[in-house]
Protein backbone atom coordinates (compact mmCIF):
# COMPACT_ATOMS: atom_id res chain seq x y z
CA UNK A 1 0.00 0.00 0.00
CA UNK A 2 1.34 3.38 -0.95
CA UNK A 3 2.06 5.95 1.73
CA UNK A 4 -0.36 8.70 0.54
CA UNK A 5 -3.29 6.26 0.69
CA UNK A 6 -2.45 5.43 4.29
CA UNK A 7 -2.33 9.14 5.10
CA UNK A 8 -5.77 9.49 3.55
CA UNK A 9 -7.18 6.69 5.70
CA UNK A 10 -5.71 8.21 8.84
CA UNK A 11 -7.05 11.63 7.98
CA UNK A 12 -10.48 10.24 7.08
CA UNK A 13 -10.71 8.56 10.47
CA UNK A 14 -9.64 11.77 12.21
CA UNK A 15 -12.13 13.88 10.26
CA UNK A 16 -14.93 11.40 10.95
CA UNK A 17 -14.29 11.40 14.69
CA UNK A 18 -13.73 15.17 14.83
CA UNK A 19 -16.96 15.98 12.99
CA UNK A 20 -19.06 13.29 14.69
CA UNK A 21 -20.31 15.70 17.41
CA UNK A 22 -21.95 17.78 14.66
CA UNK A 23 -24.01 14.72 13.76
CA UNK A 24 -24.84 14.16 17.44
CA UNK A 25 -25.79 17.81 17.82
CA UNK A 26 -28.21 17.72 14.89
CA UNK A 27 -29.55 14.23 15.56
CA UNK A 28 -30.00 14.35 19.33
CA UNK A 29 -30.20 18.09 19.95
CA UNK A 30 -32.67 20.66 18.73
CA UNK A 31 -30.94 20.62 15.35
CA UNK A 32 -31.96 22.92 12.51
CA UNK A 33 -34.52 24.72 14.71
CA UNK A 34 -31.61 26.39 16.45
CA UNK A 35 -30.67 28.23 13.28
CA UNK A 36 -33.96 30.11 13.05
CA UNK A 37 -32.67 33.54 14.08
CA UNK A 38 -29.43 35.46 14.65
CA UNK A 39 -29.12 34.79 18.38
CA UNK A 40 -29.79 31.07 18.21
CA UNK A 41 -27.60 30.65 15.11
CA UNK A 42 -24.56 32.26 16.72
CA UNK A 43 -25.14 30.31 19.94
CA UNK A 44 -25.44 27.05 18.02
CA UNK A 45 -22.27 27.73 16.03
CA UNK A 46 -20.47 28.51 19.28
CA UNK A 47 -21.50 25.15 20.69
CA UNK A 48 -20.53 23.28 17.52
CA UNK A 49 -17.10 24.92 17.33
CA UNK A 50 -16.52 24.05 20.97
CA UNK A 51 -17.53 20.42 20.51
CA UNK A 52 -15.42 19.90 17.38
CA UNK A 53 -12.43 21.76 18.85
CA UNK A 54 -12.51 19.73 22.05
CA UNK A 55 -12.70 16.46 20.10
CA UNK A 56 -9.73 17.50 17.95
CA UNK A 57 -7.82 18.56 21.07
CA UNK A 58 -8.37 15.09 22.58
CA UNK A 59 -7.25 13.35 19.39
CA UNK A 60 -3.96 15.28 19.28
CA UNK A 61 -2.94 13.50 22.50
CA UNK A 62 -3.65 10.12 20.93
CA UNK A 63 -1.42 11.08 18.00
CA UNK A 64 1.51 11.71 20.34
CA UNK A 65 1.43 8.23 21.90
CA UNK A 66 3.60 6.56 19.18
CA UNK A 67 1.23 3.58 19.28
CA UNK A 68 2.06 1.21 16.42
CA UNK A 69 -1.40 0.89 14.81
CA UNK A 70 -1.74 4.69 14.69
CA UNK A 71 1.60 4.88 12.90
CA UNK A 72 0.43 2.21 10.44
CA UNK A 73 -2.73 4.03 9.39
CA UNK A 74 -0.78 7.25 8.78
CA UNK A 75 2.12 5.66 6.90
CA UNK A 76 4.88 6.50 9.36
CA UNK A 77 5.42 8.23 12.68
CA UNK A 78 6.80 11.35 10.99
CA UNK A 79 3.44 11.78 9.24
CA UNK A 80 1.65 11.18 12.55
CA UNK A 81 3.57 14.04 14.16
CA UNK A 82 2.82 16.36 11.25
CA UNK A 83 -0.85 15.45 11.57
CA UNK A 84 -0.61 16.04 15.33
CA UNK A 85 0.63 19.58 14.67
CA UNK A 86 -2.00 20.39 12.05
CA UNK A 87 -4.82 18.95 14.16
CA UNK A 88 -3.64 20.81 17.28
CA UNK A 89 -3.55 24.12 15.39
CA UNK A 90 -6.99 23.49 13.90
CA UNK A 91 -8.34 22.59 17.35
CA UNK A 92 -7.09 25.93 18.68
CA UNK A 93 -8.80 27.82 15.83
CA UNK A 94 -12.08 26.00 16.61
CA UNK A 95 -11.76 26.64 20.33
CA UNK A 96 -11.02 30.33 19.72
CA UNK A 97 -14.21 30.54 17.66
CA UNK A 98 -16.25 28.92 20.46
CA UNK A 99 -16.51 31.90 22.87
CA UNK A 100 -16.61 34.43 20.03
CA UNK A 101 -19.78 32.93 18.55
CA UNK A 102 -21.32 32.46 21.98
CA UNK A 103 -21.01 36.19 22.75
CA UNK A 104 -21.90 37.39 19.24
CA UNK A 105 -25.57 36.85 20.07
CA UNK A 106 -25.36 39.70 22.62
CA UNK A 107 -23.52 42.12 20.34
CA UNK A 108 -26.38 44.00 18.65
CA UNK A 109 -28.10 44.93 21.90
CA UNK A 110 -26.11 43.96 24.98
CA UNK A 111 -22.44 44.68 24.35
CA UNK A 112 -21.70 45.08 28.06
CA UNK A 113 -23.11 41.63 28.74
CA UNK A 114 -20.93 40.21 25.96
CA UNK A 115 -17.85 41.77 27.58
CA UNK A 116 -18.66 40.39 31.03
CA UNK A 117 -19.31 36.97 29.48
CA UNK A 118 -15.64 36.85 28.38
CA UNK A 119 -14.26 37.73 31.82
CA UNK A 120 -13.76 35.48 34.85
CA UNK A 121 -16.78 35.45 37.13
CA UNK A 122 -18.34 33.50 39.96
CA UNK A 123 -19.04 30.62 37.57
CA UNK A 124 -16.10 28.23 37.82
CA UNK A 125 -17.37 26.29 34.84
CA UNK A 126 -16.67 29.37 32.72
CA UNK A 127 -13.44 30.21 34.56
CA UNK A 128 -12.01 26.76 33.80
CA UNK A 129 -12.81 27.33 30.13
CA UNK A 130 -11.16 30.76 30.12
CA UNK A 131 -7.99 29.50 31.84
CA UNK A 132 -7.79 26.52 29.46
CA UNK A 133 -8.22 28.79 26.43
CA UNK A 134 -5.63 31.35 27.53
CA UNK A 135 -3.18 28.58 28.47
CA UNK A 136 -3.70 26.80 25.18
CA UNK A 137 -3.12 30.00 23.21
CA UNK A 138 0.11 30.71 25.12
CA UNK A 139 1.46 27.16 24.82
CA UNK A 140 0.63 26.79 21.13
CA UNK A 141 2.16 30.21 20.49
CA UNK A 142 5.40 28.90 22.07
CA UNK A 143 5.09 25.66 20.10
CA UNK A 144 4.71 27.29 16.72
CA UNK A 145 6.57 30.56 16.92
CA UNK A 146 9.29 30.35 19.58
CA UNK A 147 12.90 29.31 18.99
CA UNK A 148 13.56 27.98 22.50
CA UNK A 149 15.68 24.87 23.08
CA UNK A 150 14.07 21.50 22.44
CA UNK A 151 13.93 20.31 26.08
CA UNK A 152 12.36 23.60 27.20
CA UNK A 153 9.96 23.49 24.29
CA UNK A 154 8.99 19.91 25.19
CA UNK A 155 8.52 20.86 28.83
CA UNK A 156 6.13 23.68 27.95
CA UNK A 157 4.33 21.50 25.42
CA UNK A 158 3.48 18.95 28.12
CA UNK A 159 1.40 21.57 29.96
CA UNK A 160 -1.18 21.27 27.19
CA UNK A 161 -2.30 18.16 29.09
CA UNK A 162 -3.16 20.37 32.07
CA UNK A 163 -5.07 22.74 29.80
CA UNK A 164 -7.02 19.78 28.46
CA UNK A 165 -7.87 18.72 32.03
CA UNK A 166 -9.23 22.22 32.76
CA UNK A 167 -11.20 22.07 29.51
CA UNK A 168 -12.65 18.74 30.69
CA UNK A 169 -13.89 20.43 33.91
CA UNK A 170 -15.41 23.14 31.71
CA UNK A 171 -17.31 20.75 29.43
CA UNK A 172 -18.71 18.75 32.33
CA UNK A 173 -19.74 21.69 34.51
CA UNK A 174 -20.97 24.15 31.91
CA UNK A 175 -24.27 22.44 31.07
CA UNK A 176 -25.60 22.66 34.59
CA UNK A 177 -24.66 26.26 35.19
CA UNK A 178 -24.42 28.56 32.20
CA UNK A 179 -25.67 26.60 29.23
CA UNK A 180 -29.40 26.36 29.82
CA UNK A 181 -30.09 24.27 26.77
CA UNK A 182 -29.67 20.55 26.51
CA UNK A 183 -26.85 20.72 23.88
CA UNK A 184 -27.90 17.19 22.87
CA UNK A 185 -29.20 14.05 24.56
CA UNK A 186 -26.29 11.88 25.57
CA UNK A 187 -23.96 14.88 25.86
CA UNK A 188 -22.36 13.54 29.05
CA UNK A 189 -21.56 10.22 27.40
CA UNK A 190 -19.88 12.07 24.55
CA UNK A 191 -17.99 14.33 26.97
CA UNK A 192 -16.85 11.30 28.98
CA UNK A 193 -15.53 9.49 25.89
CA UNK A 194 -13.70 12.58 24.60
CA UNK A 195 -12.18 13.19 28.03
CA UNK A 196 -11.04 9.57 28.29
CA UNK A 197 -9.40 9.71 24.83
CA UNK A 198 -7.47 12.88 25.62
CA UNK A 199 -6.49 11.98 29.18
CA UNK A 200 -5.43 8.47 28.17
CA UNK A 201 -3.32 9.81 25.30
CA UNK A 202 -1.65 12.39 27.52
CA UNK A 203 -0.97 10.08 30.49
CA UNK A 204 0.18 7.24 28.22
CA UNK A 205 2.76 9.47 26.50
CA UNK A 206 4.01 11.04 29.69
CA UNK A 207 3.80 8.31 32.34
CA UNK A 208 2.54 4.91 31.20
CA UNK A 209 4.58 4.14 28.09
CA UNK A 210 7.97 4.09 29.77
CA UNK A 211 6.62 1.95 32.61
CA UNK A 212 4.83 -0.53 30.35
CA UNK A 213 7.48 -0.96 27.67
CA UNK A 214 11.19 -1.17 28.34
CA UNK A 215 13.53 0.52 25.88
CA UNK A 216 16.38 -1.49 24.35
CA UNK A 217 19.67 -0.70 26.06
CA UNK A 218 22.73 -0.10 23.91
CA UNK A 219 26.23 1.24 24.58
CA UNK A 220 28.27 3.72 22.59
CA UNK A 221 30.80 1.65 20.62
CA UNK A 222 32.50 4.45 18.71
CA UNK A 223 32.10 8.14 18.02
CA UNK A 224 33.82 10.03 15.23
CA UNK A 225 33.59 13.68 14.33
CA UNK A 226 34.07 14.97 10.79
CA UNK A 227 33.36 18.48 9.53
CA UNK A 228 30.14 19.44 11.38
CA UNK A 229 28.68 15.98 12.05
CA UNK A 230 29.20 12.97 14.32
CA UNK A 231 29.03 9.33 13.35
CA UNK A 232 27.97 7.36 16.43
CA UNK A 233 27.84 3.55 16.46
CA UNK A 234 25.97 1.86 19.28
CA UNK A 235 25.98 -1.86 20.10
CA UNK A 236 23.29 -3.81 22.01
CA UNK A 237 23.83 -4.83 25.63
CA UNK A 238 21.30 -7.62 25.22
CA UNK A 239 18.96 -8.53 22.35
CA UNK A 240 19.46 -6.24 19.33
CA UNK A 241 16.56 -4.28 17.87
CA UNK A 242 14.91 -5.56 14.70
CA UNK A 243 14.58 -2.79 12.12
CA UNK A 244 14.60 -1.96 8.42
CA UNK A 245 16.97 0.51 6.81
CA UNK A 246 15.33 3.92 6.37
CA UNK A 247 13.55 3.76 9.72
CA UNK A 248 14.33 5.98 12.69
CA UNK A 249 14.65 5.55 16.46
CA UNK A 250 14.28 7.71 19.55
CA UNK A 251 17.59 7.78 21.39
CA UNK A 252 18.29 8.82 24.99
CA UNK A 253 21.99 9.13 25.90
CA UNK A 254 22.98 8.62 29.53
CA UNK A 255 25.81 11.09 29.91
CA UNK A 256 25.97 13.85 32.51
CA UNK A 257 26.80 16.47 29.88
CA UNK A 258 24.03 15.49 27.48
CA UNK A 259 20.31 16.15 28.00
CA UNK A 260 18.37 12.99 28.87
CA UNK A 261 15.56 13.92 26.48
CA UNK A 262 14.82 11.31 23.81
CA UNK A 263 15.61 12.61 20.30
CA UNK A 264 14.72 11.06 16.94
CA UNK A 265 17.56 9.93 14.64
CA UNK A 266 17.50 8.10 11.33
CA UNK A 267 19.15 4.70 11.29
CA UNK A 268 22.11 4.86 8.91
CA UNK A 269 22.93 1.16 8.90
CA UNK A 270 21.64 -1.78 6.89
CA UNK A 271 18.57 -3.72 8.03
CA UNK A 272 18.84 -5.77 11.24
CA UNK A 273 22.53 -5.04 11.70
CA UNK A 274 23.38 -5.67 15.36
CA UNK A 275 25.17 -2.35 15.61
CA UNK A 276 23.20 0.79 14.81
CA UNK A 277 24.89 3.72 13.10
CA UNK A 278 23.47 7.21 13.56
CA UNK A 279 24.85 10.33 11.95
CA UNK A 280 24.15 13.63 13.68
CA UNK A 281 24.73 17.09 12.26
CA UNK A 282 25.66 19.80 14.77
CA UNK A 283 22.61 21.95 14.31
CA UNK A 284 21.84 23.09 17.83
CA UNK A 285 22.65 23.04 21.51
CA UNK A 286 21.84 19.36 22.02
CA UNK A 287 23.72 18.00 19.01
CA UNK A 288 26.80 20.05 19.86
CA UNK A 289 26.89 18.49 23.34
CA UNK A 290 27.09 15.02 21.80
CA UNK A 291 30.83 15.72 21.51
CA UNK A 292 30.96 14.86 25.24
CA UNK A 293 29.80 11.29 24.61
CA UNK A 294 32.29 8.60 25.60
CA UNK A 295 32.68 5.01 24.49
CA UNK A 296 30.69 2.81 26.89
CA UNK A 297 27.98 5.42 27.66
CA UNK A 298 24.58 3.76 27.97
CA UNK A 299 21.92 4.49 25.37
CA UNK A 300 18.17 3.78 25.58
CA UNK A 301 16.65 3.11 22.17
CA UNK A 302 12.91 3.29 21.41
CA UNK A 303 11.53 2.16 18.09
CA UNK A 304 11.97 1.56 15.28
CA UNK A 305 9.48 3.86 13.58
CA UNK A 306 8.87 5.00 10.02
CA UNK A 307 7.84 3.47 6.71
CA UNK A 308 10.50 4.97 4.46
CA UNK A 309 11.84 2.02 2.48
CA UNK A 310 12.46 1.17 -1.16
CA UNK A 311 11.53 -2.52 -0.71
CA UNK A 312 7.83 -1.83 -1.14
CA UNK A 313 8.51 -1.34 -4.86
CA UNK A 314 10.96 -4.13 -5.77
CA UNK A 315 10.45 -3.90 -9.54
CA UNK A 316 10.18 -0.16 -10.10
CA UNK A 317 12.83 2.29 -11.12
CA UNK A 318 13.47 4.66 -8.28
CA UNK A 319 14.96 8.12 -7.77
CA UNK A 320 16.36 8.89 -4.34
CA UNK A 321 17.02 12.54 -3.52
CA UNK A 322 18.87 13.61 -0.38
CA UNK A 323 19.81 17.06 0.84
CA UNK A 324 22.49 17.55 3.52
CA UNK A 325 21.93 15.44 6.64
CA UNK A 326 18.85 13.96 4.91
CA UNK A 327 21.22 11.38 3.42
CA UNK A 328 21.21 9.23 6.60
CA UNK A 329 18.29 6.87 5.80
CA UNK A 330 19.72 6.30 2.30
CA UNK A 331 23.05 4.97 3.66
CA UNK A 332 21.45 1.82 5.08
CA UNK A 333 19.08 1.49 2.13
CA UNK A 334 22.02 1.57 -0.33
CA UNK A 335 23.89 -1.06 1.71
CA UNK A 336 20.76 -3.25 1.67
CA UNK A 337 20.34 -2.72 -2.07
CA UNK A 338 23.89 -4.01 -2.73
CA UNK A 339 22.85 -7.42 -1.35
CA UNK A 340 19.19 -7.42 -2.39
CA UNK A 341 18.47 -10.18 -4.90
CA UNK A 342 14.71 -9.59 -4.88
CA UNK A 343 15.03 -6.05 -6.18
CA UNK A 344 14.95 -5.97 -9.97
CA UNK A 345 14.54 -2.24 -10.55
CA UNK A 346 17.16 0.50 -10.64
CA UNK A 347 17.98 3.32 -8.23
CA UNK A 348 19.60 6.68 -8.97
CA UNK A 349 20.67 8.58 -5.85
CA UNK A 350 21.05 12.37 -6.08
CA UNK A 351 22.87 13.72 -3.05
CA UNK A 352 22.97 17.50 -2.75
CA UNK A 353 25.35 19.33 -0.38
CA UNK A 354 26.73 22.86 -0.36
CA UNK A 355 30.42 21.90 -0.16
CA UNK A 356 32.19 18.70 -1.09
CA UNK A 357 33.52 18.14 2.47
CA UNK A 358 29.91 17.91 3.69
CA UNK A 359 29.36 14.63 1.83
CA UNK A 360 28.46 11.85 4.30
CA UNK A 361 28.91 8.18 3.34
CA UNK A 362 30.39 9.15 -0.03
CA UNK A 363 32.69 6.11 -0.04
CA UNK A 364 29.80 3.75 0.83
CA UNK A 365 27.75 4.98 -2.14
CA UNK A 366 30.69 4.66 -4.53
CA UNK A 367 31.27 1.09 -3.30
CA UNK A 368 27.59 0.13 -3.75
CA UNK A 369 27.59 1.65 -7.27
CA UNK A 370 30.67 -0.46 -8.15
CA UNK A 371 29.15 -3.59 -6.58
CA UNK A 372 25.77 -3.54 -8.34
CA UNK A 373 24.43 -2.28 -11.66
CA UNK A 374 21.13 -1.53 -9.96
CA UNK A 375 22.51 1.58 -8.28
CA UNK A 376 23.81 4.90 -9.67
CA UNK A 377 25.21 7.67 -7.53
CA UNK A 378 25.13 11.38 -8.41
CA UNK A 379 26.78 13.64 -5.78
CA UNK A 380 25.74 17.27 -6.27
CA UNK A 381 27.76 20.17 -4.84
CA UNK A 382 25.47 23.18 -5.08
CA UNK A 383 28.21 25.76 -4.49
CA UNK A 384 29.84 24.55 -7.73
CA UNK A 385 26.87 23.24 -9.73
CA UNK A 386 24.03 25.45 -8.52
CA UNK A 387 20.88 24.31 -6.79
CA UNK A 388 19.70 20.93 -8.03
CA UNK A 389 16.54 21.10 -10.11
CA UNK A 390 14.11 18.82 -11.89
CA UNK A 391 15.92 19.40 -15.19
CA UNK A 392 19.21 18.14 -13.70
CA UNK A 393 17.47 15.04 -12.38
CA UNK A 394 15.68 14.42 -15.68
CA UNK A 395 18.93 14.69 -17.69
CA UNK A 396 20.66 12.05 -15.52
CA UNK A 397 17.82 9.62 -14.85
CA UNK A 398 15.57 9.82 -17.92
CA UNK A 399 11.79 10.18 -18.04
CA UNK A 400 9.83 10.22 -14.79
CA UNK A 401 6.92 8.01 -15.80
CA UNK A 402 6.28 5.05 -13.44
CA UNK A 403 9.24 5.92 -11.25
CA UNK A 404 9.07 6.04 -7.48
CA UNK A 405 10.59 9.13 -5.81
CA UNK A 406 12.08 9.07 -2.31
CA UNK A 407 13.09 12.41 -0.78
CA UNK A 408 14.72 13.32 2.52
CA UNK A 409 16.31 16.65 3.41
CA UNK A 410 15.57 20.27 4.21
CA UNK A 411 11.92 21.19 3.71
CA UNK A 412 12.54 24.03 1.18
CA UNK A 413 14.51 21.67 -1.09
CA UNK A 414 11.88 18.95 -0.83
CA UNK A 415 8.96 21.30 -1.36
CA UNK A 416 10.48 22.94 -4.43
CA UNK A 417 11.35 19.58 -6.00
CA UNK A 418 7.99 17.96 -5.18
CA UNK A 419 6.13 20.94 -6.67
CA UNK A 420 8.30 20.75 -9.78
CA UNK A 421 7.77 16.99 -10.13
CA UNK A 422 4.00 17.44 -9.86
CA UNK A 423 4.13 20.21 -12.49
CA UNK A 424 6.01 17.77 -14.75
CA UNK A 425 3.24 15.21 -14.51
CA UNK A 426 4.42 13.05 -11.59
CA UNK A 427 1.49 11.91 -9.46
CA UNK A 428 1.87 12.54 -5.73
CA UNK A 429 1.25 8.86 -5.06
CA UNK A 430 4.70 8.14 -6.52
CA UNK A 431 6.41 10.62 -4.17
CA UNK A 432 7.54 9.47 -0.71
CA UNK A 433 9.18 11.87 1.69
CA UNK A 434 10.77 11.39 5.08
CA UNK A 435 10.08 14.25 7.48
CA UNK A 436 12.60 14.72 10.23
CA UNK A 437 11.94 18.31 11.29
CA UNK A 438 8.60 17.53 12.91
CA UNK A 439 9.00 19.52 16.14
Amino acid sequence: MRTPLKITIGWLILLFISLFPIYLWFQFGSGAEDFSNYASTTHSLGEIFGLVGMTMFALTFMLSTRIRWIENIFGGLDKVYITHGILGGTALIMILAHPIFLVLKFIPTQTSLAATYLLPSGYWSINFGIIALVGMVALIFITLYSKIKYHKWKFTHEFLGLMFLLAVFHIFMVRNTISQDNIFNGYYIYAFIVSCIGLFGFSYSLFLKNRLFKNSIYSVKSIEQAHDFFEIIISPDHKPLSYKSGQFIFVRFYNEDVSAEAHPFSIASKSDDDNIRIVVKQLGDYTQKLAHLKVGDKVAVEGPYGKFNYRKYPQQEQIWIAGGIGITPFIGMAEDLAEDKDFTGHVTLFYSVKNKDELIGDDIFHQVAQKTQKFSYVPWVSNNQGRIGVKDIYERSGRFKNKEFFLCGPTPLKESLINAFVKNGVSKKYIHEEIFDFR
Partner: protein
Amino acid sequence: MRFKKLKLSVGIAMIAFILVVGNIFLFAGLLKSTIQDVSAETLTLPDQQAVVPKVPTVETTVKTLIITTNDIPAVEATPPPIVTPTTTPPAPEPVVVTTAPQPQPVVIQTVRRTRAS
Protein backbone atom coordinates in the same frame (compact mmCIF):
# COMPACT_ATOMS: atom_id res chain seq x y z
CA MET B 1 9.03 25.89 7.43
CA ARG B 2 7.07 22.67 7.82
CA PHE B 3 4.03 24.32 9.38
CA LYS B 4 4.07 27.47 7.26
CA LYS B 5 0.37 27.44 6.38
CA LEU B 6 -0.59 26.27 9.85
CA LYS B 7 1.42 29.03 11.49
CA LEU B 8 -0.26 31.56 9.21
CA SER B 9 -3.77 30.22 9.91
CA VAL B 10 -3.27 30.02 13.67
CA GLY B 11 -1.69 33.48 13.68
CA ILE B 12 -4.65 34.96 11.78
CA ALA B 13 -7.09 33.20 14.15
CA MET B 14 -5.27 34.55 17.21
CA ILE B 15 -5.19 38.10 15.83
CA ALA B 16 -8.87 37.89 14.83
CA PHE B 17 -9.74 36.65 18.31
CA ILE B 18 -7.84 39.48 19.96
CA LEU B 19 -9.46 42.03 17.63
CA VAL B 20 -13.00 40.76 18.22
CA VAL B 21 -12.60 40.47 21.99
CA GLY B 22 -10.79 43.82 22.14
CA ASN B 23 -13.58 45.51 20.18
CA ILE B 24 -16.23 43.99 22.41
CA PHE B 25 -14.48 45.38 25.48
CA LEU B 26 -13.92 48.70 23.75
CA PHE B 27 -17.56 49.13 22.75
CA ALA B 28 -18.75 47.85 26.12
CA GLY B 29 -16.51 50.44 27.78
CA LEU B 30 -17.73 53.21 25.48
CA LEU B 31 -21.32 52.19 26.05
CA LYS B 32 -20.86 52.26 29.81
CA SER B 33 -19.17 55.67 29.80
CA THR B 34 -21.88 57.08 27.49
CA ILE B 35 -24.61 55.91 29.86
CA GLN B 36 -22.75 57.45 32.79
CA ASP B 37 -22.34 60.74 30.90
CA VAL B 38 -26.04 60.92 30.01
CA SER B 39 -27.18 60.25 33.58
CA ALA B 40 -24.75 62.83 34.90
CA GLU B 41 -26.18 65.42 32.50
CA THR B 42 -29.72 64.66 33.60
CA LEU B 43 -28.84 65.07 37.25
CA THR B 44 -27.25 68.48 36.79
CA LEU B 45 -30.20 70.08 35.02
CA PRO B 46 -31.09 73.38 36.78
CA ASP B 47 -34.83 72.86 36.93
CA GLN B 48 -35.79 69.31 37.82
CA GLN B 49 -39.46 70.14 37.27
CA ALA B 50 -38.79 70.88 33.63
CA VAL B 51 -37.91 67.29 33.01
CA VAL B 52 -41.07 65.34 32.58
CA PRO B 53 -40.31 61.66 32.73
CA LYS B 54 -41.99 59.60 30.12
CA VAL B 55 -44.12 57.08 31.94
CA PRO B 56 -46.29 54.65 30.05
CA THR B 57 -50.02 54.68 30.57
CA VAL B 58 -51.29 51.72 32.53
CA GLU B 59 -54.72 50.31 32.01
CA THR B 60 -56.00 48.04 34.69
CA THR B 61 -58.70 45.52 34.11
CA VAL B 62 -60.22 43.03 36.47
CA LYS B 63 -60.84 39.52 35.43
CA THR B 64 -63.08 37.35 37.57
CA LEU B 65 -62.82 33.61 37.50
CA ILE B 66 -65.44 31.54 39.25
CA ILE B 67 -64.66 27.93 40.08
CA THR B 68 -67.65 25.91 41.06
CA THR B 69 -66.06 22.71 42.22
CA ASN B 70 -66.58 21.68 45.84
CA ASP B 71 -63.27 19.83 46.09
CA ILE B 72 -61.12 22.88 46.20
CA PRO B 73 -60.68 24.36 49.67
CA ALA B 74 -61.70 27.93 50.12
CA VAL B 75 -59.02 30.42 49.38
CA GLU B 76 -59.21 33.92 50.65
CA ALA B 77 -58.79 36.18 47.72
CA THR B 78 -56.45 39.07 48.31
CA PRO B 79 -56.95 42.26 46.46
CA PRO B 80 -54.32 42.97 43.84
CA PRO B 81 -52.09 45.99 44.29
CA ILE B 82 -53.57 49.11 42.88
CA VAL B 83 -51.30 50.62 40.28
CA THR B 84 -51.46 54.36 40.30
CA PRO B 85 -50.13 55.98 37.17
CA THR B 86 -47.87 58.94 37.77
CA THR B 87 -48.67 60.63 34.52
CA THR B 88 -51.19 63.33 33.78
CA PRO B 89 -53.97 61.05 32.53
CA PRO B 90 -56.77 60.61 35.09
CA ALA B 91 -56.23 57.96 37.71
CA PRO B 92 -57.84 54.64 36.94
CA GLU B 93 -61.03 53.60 38.58
CA PRO B 94 -60.41 51.87 41.90
CA VAL B 95 -60.44 48.14 41.60
CA VAL B 96 -63.56 46.63 43.11
CA VAL B 97 -62.80 43.42 44.90
CA THR B 98 -65.64 41.00 45.11
CA THR B 99 -65.31 38.17 47.55
CA ALA B 100 -67.61 35.25 47.00
CA PRO B 101 -69.62 34.03 50.02
CA GLN B 102 -68.05 31.20 51.96
CA PRO B 103 -67.70 28.33 51.53
CA GLN B 104 -68.65 27.93 47.88
CA PRO B 105 -68.12 29.05 45.15
CA VAL B 106 -64.52 30.24 45.35
CA VAL B 107 -63.81 33.45 43.54
CA ILE B 108 -60.29 34.20 42.48
CA GLN B 109 -59.56 37.57 41.06
CA THR B 110 -56.56 38.36 39.00
CA VAL B 111 -55.40 41.59 37.54
CA ARG B 112 -53.86 41.82 34.09
CA ARG B 113 -51.91 44.91 33.39
CA THR B 114 -51.38 45.96 29.88
CA ARG B 115 -48.99 48.62 28.76
CA ALA B 116 -50.43 51.11 26.35
CA SER B 117 -47.90 52.92 24.32
